[in-house]
Amino acid sequence: MTRVTLVTLATTLAFYRQNPLQALFVLVGLVLGCGLYTAVAQINASAEASYAEADQILGISAQWRITDRVSTEVAISDYIRLRRAGFTHFYPVIEKRLVSADGALISIIATDLLALPFTGGGVGSVDDSALENSPFGGDGWSRLTQPPYEAWVPSQTAARLAVTEGQQIRLREGKRLPPTVIRSQAQQRDQIFIDLGAALSLFETERVSYLAAPPLTEAEQQRFFDQFGSRLMLSKQSEALDLSQLTQSLHTNLTALGLLSFVVGTFIVFNAVNFSLHARQQAFGVLQDLGAARRAIVVAIATESLIWAVTGAVLGTLLAQPLSAALMPAVAATMQNIYGASVSSLPMFNTGLFWEALLLAFAGLSLALVLPLLRATAMSPNESNARDETLFSRQDAALAVVGLALLLLAYVCYPKASSVLQGFALLSLILFAGVALLPITVLSVSALSRTVIRRHWLARWALADVSHQFPHLRLAMMALLLTLIANIGVTSLVGSFRLALTDWLETRLSADFYVTAGVMETESLVGQDWIRAAHRRAVAERSYADRTMTVVGIDVDAPDFGPDSIIEATPAAFARWSVGGVGVDRVFANEQLKYLAGVEVGDTLELETELGLRPFEVLGFFHDYGNVNFSLYLPSERFKQLYASAEPQGWGIWVQDNQHAAAELGLSQLGLQPSQWVSQRDVLALSLTIFDRTFAITRALNALTLLVASVAIFSSLLAAYQFRRTEYALWRSLGMSWFGFFAVLGFPIVLMTAVVMALSLPLGFLLSWLLIHKINVISFGWTMPLVVATEPIVFLFVVVAMVVLAAFVLASMRQQVAVNDALKSLAGE
């Protein structure tokens, strides 16, 4: 670097020695933006690393999955038959999600350690060195596999459940897991690992969730189909649960929120950099007059940017560690609750993320610098000051045109968007259209208000000051608008979802009790006067359009499914469904079939039954939230004819009014253990708790983005005060009281914030509409009505008003002293 450039760099950097606050804001913007983005990227990377290991269980290959065609769970007797038939590398797995006595969700995985195929000399072979090097090397495994057994609990799970070594975790039904050992293996993530024998005893079952198998040759696959294909189903682990595909919408959502945080952080940087360049304009002029070429100034500024970018990326990456550690448990809970995916709640760091943050920081700074730098070095101070007024108007008019163009583009692209990424691209068009339209909206409202308020000169002055404050606050207000649109959009989405889910669950879980399958016969229920109704469903699984199709047999008079459950249907559909059809069976389909497979009302599907291939006429659709598969509902009488070997599920029991206690007594008297029935009221409450936890990560990120936007407003106000200090000193020199002073300063901020809030409402609703009717449909194949609740939005606006007020008060606190000091140098400037 030449001497000229070095001297130029030292001169330009000297600005920050005199204005440490500006340096702080550049850093804060970069650190917050990089930190939030990196935290989200780290969370996504950690989750995706877990998905990549989805075809492994505890370090062992699980490329294939074997389930029972009828009941899904595999009987131990079938497992034994498989081993005797030579399939010795199949191993049993029990996976369960339970609730502890304290109400915490726990995830359990159990397998037969001695059946695990450690690979070393080929598939299924046992290699001593592999065993020694495996997590199960040593003698600890013997205590795991023999009574009283052990429960291996990962440290993060132990911390969450507040359990220590030797303690037994108590389940809600009263049972206890084996004594805790704080230890974890590869791919165990947050799951508690116990021996299969312990699990079978604990859950009092003779069935396992599934059998897993390492890679199978074609000959082995064929032999399996020949010998066991009629009872058991062999599927690739990736077919059973394609986690990357399923979770794409959530990770894209998180990435979008992370990027939004980065953009908002960049706005802070924009502002600070803009101010610093403007304040150094005279210095640039002097440097050029003294012989520093424009190129040297540009290189100096670029070097300064690099220094900021590296510092921001380093500190941002450091900030991301505790941030992602705090947010990861919520993401892990979301993965578990929505997708059944097991993800560790400990985020993984990788250096690639640091370089990504550095690149983003440098790109953001470059964007922030390019235009102002070109202006600052190309024009004289007087010229640029004089042109600022004109440029402001032309620039904002151009932005308005861009905003309208973005909206038009979104309208044109809407029907064509067919992937999650395209859906989020639509969302970003809406967000940036709003941002582009903000300046012209603020100025128009201000101009309109001035025509209405002509008489009061102080009000006219305050309104006129909008056009002088807005250039300083423009970026901060844009950041606030982005944040509000995202907040309103997501709040409305979550609110609509909660309402729809509550309605749906209240119908679906309308039975007072659910009794586990196989523990109670129909005859037991006869004559029980506390029973109002008792129904059970039966399920058969088939395949349709490369996805699992669940055919469910339902009693036509079951209270948990009726005409109100149908969302789109032919006339008198429920009545027609109840009586059945001639030659073609009538079904209701879940809406996933409509959105993901293009099935419409009146269409006919062909499915395998035990009586051969049969046609099914779709009479209508029903909501089936959270189901990743297709589903058809068939009247139970007809279901029994078509799928005779399907085992019925458990009983849903509706109890007479005020007979809840009698019902519990009655169930006990029927010989049922407490673990064999569950109160559905508790399940409903738990489901809603899970729902709220599921969206905790989104709420957290929204709150953090609002915090970043408030920092942007605060820094902009400080910059504006500094920039206009001479003008403010003039006001005071003319005898303006502090009340009048802050009234003229404060009113434009009130107006700008009000315009931001007003603009965020329609755009926020548009965003939630897109989330519900486009992205949700693309991702999950179901939708729900958009219901706007006013309370959360009013609360959000109150929070924003308080945040803006706090920023204004904080920024104004030192102004009295600063302006009074400026009074002394007002004359003689």
């Binding site: 004089a386 002055w461 056009s467 003008e727 003039l730 020199s733 005898g735 303006m736 002394k824 004359a827």
Partner: protein
């Protein structure tokens, strides 16, 4: 109109102590006009700030219209300045978002002393009535300074202080502006003090004083 009694004022500049006033006494009566002259750095602006209540003294008394302004707190000073003093700056310091009319009316409105007829008369006298609706960036330097003069006089203060009011103007405009200022102040019965380097400007005023080494003496 104002009286300075045994005023001391100094400040530090990188270790050096600069005495603006050492036992300085000065008084001027109502309706009088004076030029305050001296070398650069003598403290002319500081002295003017002291009289305007924009700066404080180390010791001594400062009376304006018989009020000890050196004993007033910030709020009282602001109110006093609002009602009794008009200020004119070298760089005009008009509010960019207000029209010429609103700029000129600003202090009078703050003081609750705005008189529409007097304002129109002042604009006519200063020959800026056709510029009333223009904004500062649409006015020349001379026009802006005339608006600033109107602002300083519109609330009919007892004292007008002008710091290098023609410093940013060319010679012809300077002469026109100073003539208007002296005439308008005289018509309003205000005491006028003008800080200036220029003997030509000083010649328009009834008295001239030279500030140097902390003391004030009549200029020859």
């Amino acid at each position: 109109m104002f009286k300075l009694k045994q005023v001391d004022k100094s400040f530090r500049d990188r270790g050096d102590v600069i005495h603006v006033a050492r036992g300085l006494s000065w008084c001027m009566g109502s309706g009088e006009s004076a030029a305050l002259m001296g070398e650069s750095g003598a403290g002319k602006t500081t002295l003017m700030n002291i009289i305007a209540g924009l700066d404080t003294v180390d010791s001594g008394e400062v009376l304006v219209d018989n009020v000890r302004i050196d004993r007033l707190n910030q709020a009282e000073l602001t109110a006093f300045r609002r009602n009794h003093i008009g200020l004119i700056f070298q760089k005009f310091h008009l509010v960019p978002s207000l029209s010429a009319w609103d700029n000129a009316a600003l202090q009078a409105r703050l003081a609750g002393a705005f008189d529409q007829d007097f304002a129109a008369h002042l604009f006519d006298m200063l020959n800026i009535d056709h510029l009333a609706h223009r904004r500062p960036n649409q006015l020349s330097g001379g026009q802006q300074q005339r608006v600033a003069i109107a602002r300083a006089l519109m609330h009919q203060p007892q004292l007008v202080l002008a710091d290098e009011p023609t410093g940013s103007l060319d010679e012809a405009t300077s002469n026109a502006v100073i003539e208007l200022l002296v005439s308008a102040a005289s018509n309003a019965g205000a005491t006028l003090v003008v800080v200036t380097h220029s003997a030509s400007i000083a010649s328009h005023l009834s008295h001239s004083f030279l500030l140097g080494s902390g003391s004030l003496a009549p200029a020859v």
